[in-house]
């Protein structure tokens, strides 16, 4: 399960939560697929290979990628992200935002019905939000705290702000004349809300009994979490053979049109090698491939390979307050570490060329990625050496830099279950030795590393790890100064570089909670431009590379067009060519 947690966690999972879009592979030519003109054949089944079992099918409890995918197949979201830009677009509902940015109004599609024939109504979304309020095991509670009245309604620990005094959530108002219309009022403008609040439409006829006035946290252990009964998505739950497979049957009454295939099955396999083998033998219809298997898979005629830049990046995070490597506090040193590392060579050697060098937080497929030119930090050993010299580091007779009598040492930590990152650490150490830094790779267990990072353990100098980003580009949790862990106070966070900048905080806040209510893409993009320029210049991370997402599918599978923002968004249109 390295598997489970590597995929699940090395990522920005909140992200995954909202990944519902349809874009064609970015960076690749976009010719209409030949199958577009063919009439889809009915029947057959899709067997997706995955390396982790799901944990739950309750949208409010989902915290991992496989569960999120199943939930997307059986429950539709209110909103989905635009194929090209990740901008919010209607799915189950159309929406509008009030002038002051505080109120969102939704209208659920008139055709949208549950699989039992009942219409999908505003109350069903409210049931989901109330369930979040009641749940003690959800990891999503804080996403809802800005809804007016949510804190009065929710229950939880004292520190969470939940009071549990109200019987309803005052900010959610359902239109008395049209049960499909509702509005949500926030206590402050929150640009991320439109994406954050999109899921959680849950059948009240099923889950209503867990959100009554007297309910406690029964929702957390509801039998429907592992055997749901009513659906709004293209598939209906069939059977969950634990650790083996999840069988979904087509929802013939799906409001956007019944799927072409009869079944969607997730087959759980041990690892990426088993996925590759399963694709070769035809036991699997599609699955994720690893870069190292690509050359081999390209020789298999029955398998089609699809590549696109992933919505995430692998980076080296510098601890700018490291007592062991005090040099990291100096911007010039961090820049030297960027110039002194031949990222293109690393990509070629370690990732088999299946990645692109990266120099900012947002990735090119996101609308938040800046249009301005950023410093690319092309490999330049002389420049690196000059910057280090400027920063006061002088070469000693032992071939290593020193300052004030202290040698420049650097430990590159990473998680040992990732061979790719371990190799990157080793190659980077060798390259840093060339510019006079006594660097060494230190792989360790992922679990331990994550705890050290989030608690701000000073023992880490530098860490090679990755983020996978989401549709909503708000980087608050990673880059706002409030997210820097503080060991003295016992607070934790993802700000493990300890880097802070008032200008950067301002840009993040302005794009997250603008006081003037302006959440337009244009304005937010401008703020993110400032934000990314600061990061690009200050180099608290070496932003590493954006790996390509690699998928293998049987050539018989038609209509499958995975993209950075989503993979199963159009699953009801997929078909199997006999």
């Amino acid at each position: 399960m390295t598997k489970r947690f590597r995929s699940l966690i090395a990522g920005f999972a909140g992200v995954v939560l909202v990944a519902t879009a349809c874009t064609s592979p970015g960076g690749q030519s976009e010719s209409p697929t030949p199958e577009a003109s063919e009439k889809p054949q009915q029947g057959g089944k899709i067997i997706q290979g995955d390396t982790s079992d799901i944990a739950t099918m309750n949208p409010i409890l989902v915290a991992d990628v496989p569960s999120r995918r199943i939930v997307q197949l059986i429950y539709d979201d209110l909103i989905q992200a635009d194929p090209k830009t990740g901008e919010p677009k209607p799915r189950l509902a159309t929406f509008s935002v009030s002038q002051d940015g505080l109120t969102y109004s939704y209208e659920i599609n008139a055709k949208a019905n549950w699989s039992d024939g009942k219409p999908i109504i505003a109350q069903d979304w409210l049931t989901g939000v109330m369930a979040v309020g009641k749940s003690q095991k959800t990891v999503r509670k804080s996403l809802f705290q800005d809804i007016q009245g949510f804190l009065d309604y929710c229950t939880g620990s004292a520190t969470s702000g939940c009071k549990g005094t109200a019987k309803t959530i005052s900010g959610v108002k359902i239109d008395s004349s049209n049960p499909k219309k509702f509005s949500v009022t926030m206590t402050k403008v929150s640009c991320a809300a439109i994406i954050d609040l999109t899921g959680y439409v849950m059948p009240t006829q099923v889950f209503g009994k867990y959100v009554t006035d007297t309910s406690k946290d029964e929702i957390d252990t509801a039998p429907e979490n592992s055997a749901p009964t009513v659906f709004s998505g293209p598939f209906k739950f069939g059977e969950w053979r634990k650790g083996d497979q999840i069988i979904l049957n087509k929802n013939a009454d799906y409001w956007q049109g019944a799927p072409n295939v009869d079944q969607y099955i997730v087959k759980i396999v041990a690892n990426a090698t088993a996925i590759a083998n399963g694709l070769k033998t035809g036991e699997l219809t599609y699955g994720t491939l690893q870069a190292k298997d690509l050359a081999d898979m390209q020789t298999v005629q029955t398998v089609k390979i699809t590549k696109y830049p992933s919505l995430g990046y692998t980076f080296i995070g510098w601890n700018t307050t490291s007592p062991q490597a005090p040099g990291l506090a100096d911007k010039r040193v961090r820049q030297a570490l960027a110039y002194g590392l031949d990222m293109d060579a690393i990509i070629k050697a370690v990732v088999f060329g299946e990645a692109t060098a990266h120099v900012a937080h947002h990735v090119p497929v996101q609308w938040a990625y800046p249009d301005v030119t950023l410093e690319p930090y092309k490999y330049d050993k002389a420049k690196a050496q000059q910057l280090l010299k400027d920063a006061g580091w002088t070469m000693g007779s032992d071939g290593f830099l020193a300052k004030d009598g202290k040698k420049f040492t650097l430990t590159l930590s990473t998680h040992s279950d990732s061979q790719e990152r371990t190799t990157v650490a080793q190659v980077a150490s060798e390259q840093y030795k060339q510019i006079g830094i006594d660097a060494k790779a230190a792989p360790e267990a992922f679990q331990g590393l994550v705890t050290k990072l989030t608690t701000g353990d000073p023992v880490l100098d530098a860490t090679i790890i990755g983020w996978s980003l989401g549709t909503e580009p708000d980087p608050y949790q990673i880059w706002h100064s409030s997210q820097i862990p503080d060991r003295a106070k016992g607070t934790t966070g993802f700000g493990f570089t300890f880097f802070k900048s008032a200008d950067m905080d301002k840009a993040i806040e302005a794009a997250r909670n603008p006081t003037n209510g302006d959440c337009s893409i244009a304005t937010r993009k401008k703020n993110y431009e400032t934000f990314n320029k600061i990061l690009n210049d200050e180099q608290p991370y070496n932003f590493g590379y954006v790996p390509n997402a690699l998928r293998g599918s049987q050539t018989s599978l038609q209509g499958y067009n995975p993209a950075p923002f989503a993979e199963v968004y159009n699953v009801y249109q997929w078909w199997i060519k006999q």
Binding site: R4, A13, G14, V139, G243, N277, Q447, V450, T451
Partner: protein, 319 residues
């Protein structure tokens, strides 16, 4: 005999308590916090959320208290709710037990059915090419790493020849009761799991049979004019089998342990794979339930071994 069984069962209790303490300590003291692990990177996950989850799962209590809570519930069959799956961990484990038992059982059967005759054959054909071939097989079978052998078999029989499936217990979409399909899925993993045992048995049986054949009572049996078959099966083989029974306890342990690797290679949804994945995810309740389950199985298998021992060799007094 009854006293013997009771005494052995009583002895098992401190063993299991010891295992429970060690398991608990190793799971908890290894670096890493499960809540941080499964919430790493989640947007808008706050300190308050973290503290709430810590409390909900009882992880905010002192370690000894957590142990006492856990062990008192565990003896009642409640091993706690999985941190990831939000379900009772022992029940989840039990769902996977049949798969592991089928795999281990099939492997054990193969070991005995192939290993024993091979060993006897080698002894009878001592010094011939047959003996040589079996002995080479014994060494190779022992030396080859199971995961590697499994992958090779997958490449040959599943990917290239397409004769046998490489994933799981049943073809997707097939009826749960499709025995033939299940058997097809069982062939590769059970053979890989059995390989070490087959090699072991053939080696032990060869040595033992040779030893026994050289003994006086065999010569006497021949002298009495007994038929060759009676000499071999009634007198020689029965004595030669004693070490096989001795090895059985260890081999059962090997099967349960080895199943972990094989289950990974063949995506076999069994206890080993499940526990292993839970260990990586630091899902304590499942890890603890898994280790306790396999430990108990092991204690029972040693007990059974001793009993079988007494039955096979009446000279061994139960005591």
């Amino acid at each position: 005999m009854r006293d013997f069984i009771i005494r052995r069962l009583v002895y098992a209790i401190p063993t299991l308590i010891g295992i429970s303490i060690i398991t608990f300590a190793i799971a908890r003291l290894a670096p890493g916090d499960p809540i941080r692990l499964f919430t790493f990177g989640i947007r808008d996950f706050t300190q308050a959320d973290y503290e709430r989850l810590l409390h909900v799962y009882g992880l905010d209590k002192p370690m000894p208290l957590q142990y006492i809570d856990w062990i008192t519930n565990a003896v009642r069959g409640n091993f706690g709710e999985s941190l990831i799956y939000h379900r009772e961990s022992f029940a989840m484990l039990m769902e996977r037990v049949p798969n592991t038992l089928v795999l281990a059982g099939a492997a054990l059967l193969l070991q005995l059915l192939i290993g024993v005759p091979l060993g006897v054959l080698a002894a009878f054909k001592r010094g011939t090419w047959v003996d040589g071939a079996i002995r080479i097989f014994g060494v190779v079978g022992h030396a080859v790493p199971a995961f590697w052998f499994g992958l090779i078999l997958i490449i040959v029989f599943a990917v290239q020849l397409r004769w046998l499936p490489s994933i799981g217990v049943l073809t997707v979409g097939h009826d749960q009761m499709d025995i033939l399909d299940r058997l097809k899925h069982l062939i590769l993993p059970s053979f890989v799991l059995a390989l070490t045992g087959i090699a072991n048995y053939s080696r032990i049986l060869r040595t033992e049979t040779l030893d026994v054949l050289a003994q006086d009572f065999v010569r006497t049996a021949h002298a009495k004019g007994l038929r060759e078959r009676t000499v071999v099966f009634t007198h020689a083989l029965r004595n030669a089998l004693i070490p096989v029974v001795t090895a059985l306890g260890g081999i059962l342990a090997g099967l349960v342990g080895g199943a972990l690797v094989i289950e990974q290679v063949f995506s076999w949804p069994g206890v080993g794979q499940f526990t292993f994945q839970a260990a990586i995810a630091k899902d304590y309740p499942i890890v603890q339930a898994g280790v306790m389950f396999t430990s108990t199985l092991l204690v029972i298998s040693y007990l059974l071994r001793d009993l079988t021992y007494a039955i096979v060799d009446p000279r061994i007094k139960v005591g």
